[in-house]
Amino acid sequence: MKLSAYRIAANKLRTTPILSIEAESSTVKTFTFRDQRCARAEPGQFLMLWIPSVDEIPLSILHAEENGMVSVAVQEVGEATSALHNKTIGELIGIRGPFGNSFTPKNGRILMVSGGTGVVPTLFLAERLASKTAKLVFAIGAKRKEELLFMNRIKRTLGGEETQVIATTEDGSYGIKGLVTKPLQKLLEREKFDMIYTCGPEQMMRKVFDLAEKCEVALEASLERLMRCAIGLCGSCVVGRFRVCKDGPVFTAKQLRQVKAEFGVSKRDFSGRKIPL
């Protein structure tokens, strides 16, 4: 007897209290809670977080531990995230997931490129991979210094030999001035990498993808789209023939080549209409 849809175990909503809240910047907070299913999540997977009577939003998983502790980092961008930011320890949230696929872990020479809150899944991956890679370069970009998230944690994770952190800010308040893609061209011309993992604004990822294609480096990118069902039914998150919730959110360069017309170019709005990114 085949499993029926209603037995997709991870999809069942679990209500759980917030156990800790950490401010990461003036607009980003990390929320930690206990959830046995998401505790087994792999870097790149996401969950749906319900703010009762307000909304339910897709979030990349920042950290998952065997003891059941799970955390997500959330930027205040609208009604739902602002309602979540106003929550206090002990208040209830609902969790579904983990959903989607994860980054394919590689141990060779690795480059990670993230922008803004895109650092969440790449940091989770870096923490899992750091001790195993031959080389690990972590490039992170933000508008200004204050928005460079988790810098201490990144530096701590990349403390070993054959590691490097490259930080960029658009206003030059920290690291290299400009977009995170700026130092990449030279880096990719100078050094050979086995894999690039990227997450961030999609135009940024598109530039990283174009560079990786030019330099013939394998790449995986984590995409974001409007999510509703998160189990591949409703079609809200489609990019080309792929459903970001089920076929992604992590896509290989080979898959991204099939959706070049949309990747970094357009997304679908609440009505399903294609709009520029």
Partner: protein
Amino acid sequence: MGGLRLANPTMLASGILGLSAESLGDIAMGGAGAIVTKSVGLKPRNGYANPTIVQTSCGLINAIGLPNPGIGEFVKEIREAKNFGVPVVVSVYGYSAEDYATVAKKAVAAGADAVELNVSCPHAEETGSEIGQNTEILAEVVRKVKAVVKKPAFVKLSPNVTNIADTAEVAAKAGANALTATNTVKAMAIDTEATVPILSNKIGGLSGPAIKPIAVRCVYEIYESVKVPIIGSGGITNWHDAVEFLLAGATAVQIGTATASNGPNVFKKVTRGIDAYLRRKGFKSVNEIVGLSHRS
């Protein structure tokens, strides 16, 4: 089947994927005899805030809220969906008979092989089941659509009525070429810890295995009272479920929720299963078992 030629009796149920043509390609590849789009209206509609879906111990409840870009924009997707080599049925909703007729006409002009009138969405105001539960308006909707569209018009019925056979008779008399039975069953879920309804719309439609016995009964009752073909829909996961609907009187079946767990190949598997059943029981075609349970 109701003026539409199907390679096999399985169809994709409306509401699953179906907002973009490309996402329907995999369903066609998976063996669906026809694809039905998400419901489209005259103007763009955003749908409801999340949560729009909740999983219960016996099925999924959804209230997505009929998001669609409007028929003006959607015609592009219809044209593209025609490339997959299976009939494209465009699901249509409206707030008046004129709306339904206008959208249906544009859908057919863009290449739709048939339209399915959504007069049964359980969670939208002033459309869906609010139309289908009012027999006068329902008849007007079907008549107006039939007056402007040469292709078959199916009517998707709501199980949330006192007597579905009455509704079916009205739709058939008004000119429906086939009846889809049924849409989801009105339902809700409340979180016991947060003590509030989970869906943002509070009420949604239950799908999945829980509603199969309800939908089978609806098909059985409709078959007793009308002559137009019936498309069975509700909780079909495997060939066994599909055969049950055929025996109850359905000529074809629609599969929705099961595509989430079983993937697009569920259509091939169900079709093969029906074939094997027919062979084992000595039947020559699907038609021989349509409504067979009524003859006992």
